[in-house]
């Protein structure tokens, strides 16, 4: 059985290329048909927000790629409830559907995977 990977994406989409490079790890897993889920944590939750205007920063839009993740075989998207509330973001502001997890559920999630990759 293939080992499962949880990718923890913690960088805001406007904080340079880190968020895009995290996403590339997920897409690569999809290409090889490997089990990978993503947890959006800390500033990473900003990647899921609706109505972003990356063009103003002369950047590419990540949202379209994120929405395409299920087509690439990415198993599940999770988002930390705590990270959202810390930033005053409510779940209805998210453009990308992700499962909300409280702190205890995040801890449980981490234990379910063979490997963690944090970017």
């Amino acid at each position: 059985m293939a080992k499962s990977v949880l990718l923890m994406s913690r960088q805001a989409p406007w904080a340079g290329i880190a968020a895009a490079e995290a996403l590339d790890i997920a897409l690569a897993a999809g290409a090889f048909d490997l089990p990978l889920s993503i947890l959006f944590l800390d500033d990473g939750v900003y990647q899921l927000l609706e109505q972003q205007q990356p063009k103003m920063l002369e950047q590419k839009d990540l949202a379209a790629n994120l929405q395409a993740l299920p087509m690439f075989g990415i198993e599940q998207l999770y988002v930390s409830k705590y990270s959202l509330s810390e930033r005053g973001v409510t779940p209805d502001q998210l453009a990308v559907p992700a499962k909300l997890l409280d702190e205890v559920q995040v801890q449980e999630l981490l234990r379910q995977f063979d490997h963690l990759v944090t970017l």
Partner: protein, 149 residues
């Protein structure tokens, strides 16, 4: 004599039991303390008979794979130390090609392809794709990353 041999065999068995296969990801540049810690961790793994399946250089970590960094004499040259370590122990060292190209780390093939002056990828390193990270993860017991968010 028989006891000594038995002890030795037990010891070997013990090593086999606890030895694990590690993947190390280096995500920060060579000036970051995390990149130094990654190297010391890798050295400690070998000292304790663990196996390093692969060291994967991604994000700014690719900068440690450049052979043209110049560091002042009174400062530690961690990129060079990484390069010496990788050659000395014949470590499988893969540098993400996309991350490397956008940060100016190229081997001779890529330098020719994109008409850049000469390659600067250190000897012992290989440019390849993110699939190599996943391949290593599939073969490893543990993944430890340094310098991530």
């Amino acid at each position: 004599m028989g006891d000594a041999l038995a002890n030795l065999l037990n010891f070997e068995k013990f090593i086999l039991m606890v030895a694990m296969r590690f993947v190390i990801s280096v995500l920060s540049s060579s000036t970051s303390p995390a990149t130094r810690r990654a190297l010391r961790f890798a050295q400690a793994l070998l000292a304790q008979k663990h196996e390093i399946v692969r060291v994967f250089f991604y994000q700014d970590g690719v900068l440690s794979a450049a052979n043209n960094l110049v560091v002042a004499q009174d400062q530690e040259d961690i990129a060079r130390q990484w390069q010496d370590f990788i050659r000395a122990y014949d470590i499988d060292a893969v540098v993400c090609i996309a991350a490397a190209l956008r940060r100016g780390v190229l081997d001779h093939v890529e330098a020719t392809r994109y008409q850049r002056q000469g390659g600067n990828l250190a000897e012992g390193y290989q440019l390849s794709g993110l699939g190599q990270l996943h391949d290593a993860l599939q073969r490893a017991d543990r993944h430890i990353s340094f310098g991530g968010a």
